[in-house]
Amino acid sequence: MSKLLVEAKAVVIPGEILAEGMDHLPGKGAFREGEKVIASRVGLVYVNGSIINIVPLSGRYIPKKDDTVIGYVRDMTYSSWFINIGYAYDASLSLKDASSSYIERGASLSDFFAVADAILTRITNVTKDNNIDLTMVGPGLRKLKGGKIIEITPAKVPRLVGKQGSMISMIKDMTGCSVFAGQNGRIWIKGKTPEAEKIATDAVFLVEEKAHIRGLTDHMKGFLEEKCKSLKVEKKVSINKETKK
């Protein structure tokens, strides 16, 4: 008989024995050693049937195909840009993927994206050799103008987005700010006033800090309601506009 030694959603650390016996299988963040299933990183226990997964609570971003990320233009060649996406290696954006309209060969690339520009982009391919391809063709993908970018632990991004985007929508609706969360932990925030942006920022950091608590949505709702009281009436109008869209 296989025995599970940890509770669901418990915080575990590397080397901690999760289960004994062959009925349980190590999923992500776990491995088998003889009869034992052992955690290989700090995280929360999620048991899915016989599989034990460890959902990480920290860690650097590892690029995956189809991730939408926020990158900074670091350098360019005559036919592509090098983009810092918060990984050990730069990703590359080639001329053909930079725009849905035709860019002539020999055009000045900085007319499109200049060094230090921030872009919302999507990963189309990741090879074993760390070659990461990006595209700017797709809904919402664009150069980010104005606003600010903050960084949170990439592991917490799914929580910030919430189920079907519920958490991030709540922050957007209540503060009236545009908020985009890159899978790489970079969050772009742009609002009508610095006060609204400050509340959205604080909210994002609060989700990061309390990502693993139960009832986070209610907690966040309370926080946002309290904070948004100080926003002037005119902003409530803009919130309505936002929701009407």
């Binding site: 520009d117 921030a118 104005g146 610095p194 006060e195 920022t201």
Partner: protein
Amino acid sequence: MITEEYVESLTKLGKRMDGRKFDEYRDLSIEYGISKKSAEGSARVKIGETEVIAGVKLDLGEPYPDKPEEGSIMVNVELLPLSSPKYESGPPGIDAIELSRVTDRGIRECGAIDFKKLYHKESGKVWLVFIDIYPINAAGNLFDACTIAAMAAIRDAVFPSIEGNKVDYSTKTKTPLPLQKLPISCTVWKVGNELLVDPSVEEESAANSRLTVVFTEDDKICAMQKGKDDPMLADEIEKAVELAFKTTKDIRGHFKK
């Protein structure tokens, strides 16, 4: 960069990213004796998320030939790669050297420590005061943090005892260093056209100019350093000095009596 532009656009509205006023410092705390066993004096300073620690080591050494009866100080700031992804291992770069020298000047020039009282008659040697300063988490305003940490460590320090003209580090005396002044620095940063104190990392990179002013408790200026690329107008300097004066008075209140 997008965030620097954002910081600058906010200052035009009279705002800062974290909601502070231009003349508002983050929470400041000073802790003494954080390396009691090893150092003769030590302190930890936190300004918001910035954390800097400083330690004082004393040694008996040969005096400078031109001042045979005076001791001296040595200030060294090391920008540890532990404290920020921006710092690299290796010999000190120009940023660390500037920080060391500005901190050194502030303490040296006002006579914060009475060098004449660092003379040890019996051996003909003098006390050398080594002040080593390290950021643990570099999150803006290291200029002020380094001077505050250095002065706190100096005020925490006591002499080790002497055994036959040699320093016995294992036994400390109760004699503090001969202190005369408490210099405090405030660096005023110019972002866009506005002057502000205690910048975050983002504000520091958005700033075009900065002015460090070190004040003593008798309201005298004992060291200054204008930094970064852009020039400053004379009346901006006047305003910056006034802002620094006001701020250093507040900071001084955080020191133990």
